[in-house]
């Protein structure tokens, strides 16, 4: 029974990773870049919701909507200002810029909010759920899993059955050819960033509901782990990000429970390295042949 409760909290943590990983994997698939600042967008989203609830006393739904809007604006602004001018630059230049943006957001939050961790208010206000004798799960875990399932279904439908979704697939397949077919590449990339950032905002609320401490470095670790999840599942693949995220959350929670609490990070990153050695393209990744 304890195993089952660890498993469920692992799936809940993994769902948060999966939501963040979706942002990474969509941007990677379409813009062919690693958006290092994605983790820090989560942190900013958390702070916006925190400020809205604690300083302005708004109700939880409005605060969450504010967080989503702020993250979308931020995500699109980052893309327009920092990444768009580098569309034809070397991967190294883009990566360093992304690191610069991440560093910038962290230090901006550090100056505005200070380095002390803040207690995130309990905005979801959920009670623990008793599933069976001796098996209690937190309400947050259940809500996290349910929201993630809904988001994933909606996202899959969106990608496969709408015009914009098809355009996104086309751009990730071949940017030049998509442009020739009349797809507006810049708009498509902006929409991708907007969706990724909106998911990041949702993830930030869910993350802070389960782990209610907020500091400028809150986003960094989940960000890196979610990227690990995206790579684990095969970067560029949306179902891959979902599977990778949930697997990673489960591995992390089970290794915390049964191996060592202190070394759980080392185990998670060890898994990443092993996956990349054995199958460099991840679980569902496609092998890309390089053209000369």
């Amino acid at each position: 029974m304890t195993f089952l409760s660890y498993l469920i909290s692992g799936i809940s943590l993994g769902s948060v990773y999966a939501l963040i990983a979706l942002g990474y994997t969509m941007v990677y698939g379409i813009a062919k870049m690693l958006n290092f600042a994605h983790g820090d967008v989560i942190m900013i989203g958390g702070f916006v919701v925190f400020t809205a609830v604690s300083s302005m006393n708004t109700s939880a739904p409005i605060a969450i909507v504010c967080g989503i809007i702020a993250c979308v604006v931020l995500g699109v602004a980052i893309e327009k200002i920092a990444y768009k001018p580098l569309r034809n630059a070397t991967p190294l230049a883009v990566l360093i810029t992304a690191i610069g943006v991440s560093y910038f957001l962290q230090n901006l939050a550090l100056i505005i909010f200070g380095s002390a961790a803040k207690n995130f208010p309990d905005i979801l206000k959920l009670e623990d759920l008793q599933l069976a004798e001796g098996l209690t799960v937190t309400g947050e875990a259940v809500v996290t899993i349910l929201i993630t399932i809904v988001i994933m279904i909606v996202l899959t439908l969106f990608i496969n059955y709408t015009k914009i979704g098809t355009a996104m697939q086309a751009v990730s397949e071949d940017r030049g050819a998509a442009q020739l077919m009349g797809v507006n590449v810049n708009t498509t990339i902006s929409i991708t960033f907007a969706i990724g950032s909106a998911l990041a905002a949702v993830a930030s609320v869910l993350l802070c509901a389960s782990y209610p401490l907020l500091s400028p470095y809150t986003g960094a670790m989940p960000g890196i782990k979610a990227f690990t999840a995206a790579v684990f599942g095969g970067i560029g693949s949306i179902p891959g990000a979902m599977i990778g995220g949930i697997l990673l959350g489960v591995i992390e929670n089970l290794s915390k429970a049964y191996i060592s609490t202190e070394l759980s990070d080392a185990i998670v990153f060890g898994v990443l390295i092993i996956v990349l050695i054995v199958k460099p393209t991840g679980i569902l990744g496609k092998k890309m042949n390089e053209k000369v």
Binding site: P85, I96, Y103, I224, E262, L263, L276
Partner: protein
């Protein structure tokens, strides 16, 4: 003067770099030995040397090999702990600092190089973003393990443990127990052997090794991989071997810098060697000019010293990291935009020592 004229351009360039470092060394030596230096100035010498070595060695990976490594602080961490551990073990037997300290450097460097090899063999098959994230993951693993590593010795020998729980289970001979590495508390009591003399000596060694490597056959092979991997492979260059050479040498010197760092402080903790330290070194490399060793030296010196001297002026140190971040983004945007590039060339052209190699790199890859 005649010999200088007959030299080719690269050796002339290298000698200018050595000359700059030598001039700075002589200035510092005179300044410190004549007792004119302030406490702050003396205290800054070793951190500056550490950062210069780190920047030059990271530039080998980023500028010459063309791969982004975000785990440089991890290699430094390995070197720092291995070197400190060695020094503490041999403190009583090897009393001469002239023997013990160089040995500590070699051991720290070799341990870092060994870990670099271990990470490098599988990881260098990956490219670009993957390599960056794996080196970052590796840095976190090292930090995580070092943070939970306990080593203590007693009359029965050495005891190793990972995690507090395992450590508390060990039965020690209480009388002779001596804790060497104490988990999150790190390593304390390393002999304070570092000084500016050792620092500059190591900078010279680092520069000589790396500049000679870059201008050798191996170095040209490494650069050809950076410029066009497929073309390099097709003329028979062993990609993995050359990538590993660059990566391992870079790790070696990061380890050496770690030893220098740890012997400057009375205690070293693993959490100091985090992602942010790796980024800081990357900032030195990018601002100095990717691929330019001289640029790295100058950028590391200025960016380490400047914040300390500006500390009195307002609360500038709060904004330091923010300014670094903006500079990092601005440099990348300017370098990749023809219009901005030309506009700033007149103003910055004289200071941008790494311009040429940067341009070569861009042309080569795109």
């Amino acid at each position: 003067m005649k010999t200088l004229n007959t030299m080719n351009k690269t050796s002339k360039n290298n000698f200018i770099t050595y000359g700059i470092v030598l001039a700075i060394f002589i200035f510092c030596a005179v300044y410190i030995e004549t007792d004119m230096a302030t406490f702050l100035f003396k205290g800054l010498m070793v951190p500056i040397c550490v950062n210069v070595i780190l920047a030059v060695s990271l530039n080998l990976t980023v500028g010459i090999l063309g791969e982004l490594s975000l785990g440089h602080a991890g290699f430094m961490c390995v070197g720092a702990f291995a070197g400190s551990f060695f020094s503490m073990m041999t403190q009583e037997t090897l009393t001469s600092v002239w023997i013990r300290f160089p040995l500590a450097f070699i051991i720290g460097g070799l341990s870092a190089a060994f870990i670099g090899l271990l990470v490098g063999i599988p990881v260098l098959r990956l490219r670009g973003d993957y390599l960056a994230i794996v080196t970052l993951a590796f840095c976190e693993i090292i930090k995580n393990i070092m943070n939970n590593l306990y080593i203590a010795k007693d009359i029965n020998g050495l005891h190793f443990a990972i995690g507090v729980g395992a450590y508390n289970e060990i039965e020690f001979d209480a009388a002779s127990k001596q804790v060497l590495i104490n988990g999150a508390m790190g390593i304390t009591g390393t002999p304070n052997d570092s000084n500016y003399f050792w620092g500059f000596a190591l900078i010279f060694i680092t520069l000589i090794v790396i500049l000679n490597l870059v201008n050798s056959r191996t170095g040209r092979a490494i650069m050809s991989i950076r410029d066009n991997r497929i073309a390099a492979e097709s003329v028979g260059i062993n990609i993995t071997k050359h990538k590993l050479i660059a990566f391992v040498i870079s790790a070696f010197f990061a380890g050496v810098a770690g030893v220098l760092y740890s012997h400057n402080l009375s205690s070293v903790i693993a959490t100091k060697f985090d992602y942010n330290y790796s980024i800081l070194v990357l900032v030195f490399v990018v601002l100095g000019g990717i691929g330019s060793m001289r640029g790295s030296v100058i950028a590391a010196i200025i960016l380490t010293a400047l914040p300390e001297f500006l500390r009195d002026i307002g609360n500038l140190s709060d904004y330091r990291m923010l300014i670094y971040a903006i500079l990092l983004i601005a440099m990348m945007l300017i370098n990749n935009n023809d219009y901005l590039h030309q506009m700033t060339q007149g103003v910055l052209g004289k200071f941008r020592l790494g311009k040429k190699s940067k341009k070569n790199e861009q042309e080569g890859v795109s």
